[in-house]
């Protein structure tokens, strides 16, 4: 996260670190005690990777405490519908949703977040010297209206949403796969999963997978 600040308290307990050979590779979100939602790109080498190379850590605040925290194995990786860039990971054992870890709510299917709504992105990725590297950082960014976003989305249309656009603030390397979370009253909902763009923290808004567009698929994976 570039231009953000270190997460305090219990905030961001749903953000997980996806690691390959014990090295943080990208972010993800705990959407059920035994399910993680993330992105394919930059996280995995294929839809059938060698899962024993990968592990998940929940409730982390800082990557330097990684060796002292339990690791969760992945039993299944399920690639999302064509073009979604989403991946669901089934954990070998449910994550302990205490000790700083929690789940995040999924949005209502086909829902919409109003332009200008401030939402928050979390991650342990690149800070470009704007914050504490390897700490879980967050940055608040406004949702961008569809018209401006459509130039970035290309053909992706409703499957993508955009947020941010303030120079020097945004998501960056190793944050990808992590959640964009919006809040209304006390309810926090994961509305986006960050995906790589050519530049980070630029004037161009950041691109996210629209979770609401794929919520039917997510529930179907839970069921079946």
């Amino acid at each position: 996260i570039v231009g953000g600040h270190e997460v305090q308290g219990t905030d961001g307990g749903w953000v997980v670190s996806i690691q390959r050979k014990k090295l943080h590779r990208c972010g993800g979100s705990l959407i059920r005690e035994d399910w993680v939602l993330t992105t394919y790109e930059q996280c995995f080498t294929s839809c059938v990777p060698d899962l024993k190379d990968y592990s998940i850590q929940v409730g982390l605040r800082h990557l330097n405490e990684s060796s002292n925290r339990p690791r969760l194995g992945i039993s299944r990786l399920i690639c999302g519908p064509e073009g979604s860039n989403l991946v669901m990971l089934k954990l070998e054992n449910p994550a302990p949703v205490s000790d700083g870890a929690s789940t995040i709510h999924l949005p209502v299917k086909e829902c919409h977040i109003a332009e200008g709504t401030n939402c928050t992105m979390y991650g342990w990725g690149e800070t470009k010297n704007t914050g504490l590297d390897e700490a879980l950082n967050s940055v608040t960014m406004p949702m961008v209206d569809n018209e401006m976003c459509s130039q970035i989305k290309g053909d992706a249309e409703n499957s993508r949403i955009c947020a941010g656009g303030n120079i020097g603030e945004g998501v960056c390397e190793r944050d990808y796969g992590g959640p964009l979370v919006c809040q209304e009253h006390q309810r926090k909902v994961i509305v986006g999963v960050s995906i790589p763009r050519t530049k980070c923290a630029s004037a161009q808004p950041a691109l996210f997978v629209n979770v609401a567009f794929y919520s039917e698929w997510i529930y179907k994976v839970f069921r079946l």
Binding site: T45, S46, C47, V48, P49, D50, R76, I78, P81, E82, S84, H105, L106, P107, V108, K109, E110, C111, H112, I113, A114, N146, N158, C182, E184, H185, R187, V189, V191, A212, E216, W217, Y219, K220, R223, L224
Partner: protein, 461 residues
């Protein structure tokens, strides 16, 4: 069984060619001959200098040639009536085996001093006159070994301070090195590692075999040179010993493995030809059984150890084709199933020229016969799911035939299917596309669609 005398393996054969030399003082000796083998034996006789022969196929005549392709004025010509057979020793620049029979044309020593002609005595005086040793082929100033020196071919030099020196002619096993498992080795080793003479690939004696050169043109099964047409550990050949069908050849490995060159044509998501260059990470069988690691001997013992097949990328438990099979495969972790072909990896040409079926709208009405998932895993029959009353997945049972891709729950991402029960994926989408039809009514855009709040409190737990 006493080995039958054979001579043709000492020759390099060129079908539909002949060698002529209009300027040569000695003319060919013409003899009737019942076969090329017979002709080869005549050429071998010691009372006649014979370096090659043209075999005239129609009238079975043998033209024994006292010259070779390097003789001044000699010319190799295409002629469908002839087969040219050249004695290897006159056309190679390396030493084969232990017997020193080098007859090449190198004329400088290993410290780069020009050799003195054998007929000369001007600079370094000697007694190895060509006339005195007619069988030693002391021609011009070429390196030879008339005294069987253990250092190999040598010559008197044109330097008065260096009387004679070895020429440093390489062994054929070192002249051309091999990479990987020597599948591309095209050198001239024609003996096995135990010193047995190799059988010609185009001969069925003493061993009948399937590797006929005309059937395996890309394998360069020329004469009796060691080759690796079937992905063994190293180049090999059938031997002239009737008791030993085949043996490996001893060929020097190249210093660098040039793996970057080898990887140029690899694919990771699809299969080209037989998939020898597939380097993807598919590690389950089409039925969903996990592949066995290549470096493991459990549950199946095997000889495909990664260390022995360094260029085959036998990493982890990924599907590979290290043995020239028709498709990448793997040993399976099921003790009852040794090997499985990874036929669910798609073919690249299928991707390049897609004939992907399409569906209208969400595909509820798709009634095509596709029955594999997008990754090529076979679909399972719908029947058990209909009978089990799985209301989550099947809103409508209409059209749920056999194991065809269907969309009974109006999944907006298109038709899908269940897979076999032991598969790592319970269900998946099929490789189908939405049809591009101009008659399809446009979707209501975001402006007209009512906007739903993301925070409606539905407890999904």
């Amino acid at each position: 069984q006493k080995p039958r005398r054979q001579s043709l393996q000492k020759y390099e054969k060129s079908e539909n060619h002949m060698l002529i030399c209009t300027d040569c003082p000695q003319t060919p000796v013409v003899q009737n001959s019942r076969s090329q083998e017979h002709c080869a034996r005549k050429c071998k006789k010691k009372n006649f200098i014979c370096r090659a022969f043209n075999f005239q196929k129609a009238n079975r005549k043998c033209y024994l040639l006292p010259f070779d392709r390097f003789t001044h004025g000699a010319q190799k010509q295409a002629n469908i009536n002839f087969t040219l057979c050249e004695k290897k020793e006159y056309i190679r620049e390396c030493i084969s085996g232990t017997k020193d029979n080098y007859r090449g044309r190198r004329s400088w020593t290993k410290s780069n001093i020009t050799c003195q002609a054998w007929s000369d005595n001007n600079i370094n005086e000697h007694t190895f006159y060509p006339d005195r040793y007619p069988m030693q082929d002391l021609r011009e100033n070429f390196c030879r070994n008339p005294n069987n020196d253990p250092g190999g071919p040598w010559c008197y030099t044109t330097d008065p301070n260096v009387r004679a020196e070895e020429c440093g002619i390489p062994q054929c096993s070192q002249e051309v090195c091999m990479r990987c498992n020597g599948e591309d080795y095209r050198g001239k080793v024609d003996q096995t590692e135990s010193g047995k003479e190799c059988q010609r690939w185009d001969s069925k004696w003493p061993h009948v075999h399937p590797f006929q050169p005309k059937k395996y043109r890309d394998k360069d099964l020329r004469d009796n040179y060691c080759r690796n047409p079937n992905n063994r550990l190293r180049p090999w050949c059938y031997t002239m010993d009737p008791r030993t069908p085949w043996e490996y050849c001893n060929i020097t490995m190249c210093d660098s493995d040039h793996s970057e060159e080898i990887d140029v044509n690899t694919t990771t998501s699809c299969i080209q030809q037989d998939g020898t260059n597939y380097r993807g990470t598919m590690n389950v069988t089409p039925e969903g059984v996990t592949c066995q690691r290549w470096d493991s001997q459990f549950p199946h013992n095997h000889s495909f150890l990664p260390v022995n097949f360094k260029c085959k990328d036998l990493r982890e438990n990924y599907c590979r084709n290290p043995d020239g099979a028709h498709y990448p495969w793997c040993f399976t972790t099921d003790p009852n199933q040794r090997i499985a072909k990874c036929t669910h990896i798609p073919r690249c040409d299928a991707e390049a020229t897609p004939k992907i079926d399409c569906y209208e709208d969400k595909g509820e009405m798709y009634r095509g016969a596709l029955s594999t998932t997008r990754s090529g895993i076979p679909c399972a029959d719908w029947a058990p799911y209909i009978n089990s009353g799985d209301s989550h997945s099947t809103i409508s049972h209409v059209g749920l035939e056999r194991n065809y891709c269907r969309n009974p729950d109006r999944d907006k991402h298109g038709p899908w299917c269940y897979t076999s029960p032991n598969n790592r994926l319970v269900w998946d989408y099929c490789k189908l596309k939405q049809c591009e039809s101009p008659t399809v009514a446009p979707q209501p855009n975001n402006l007209t669609r009512p906007k739903i709040s993301c925070f409606v409190h539905i407890n999904t737990r």
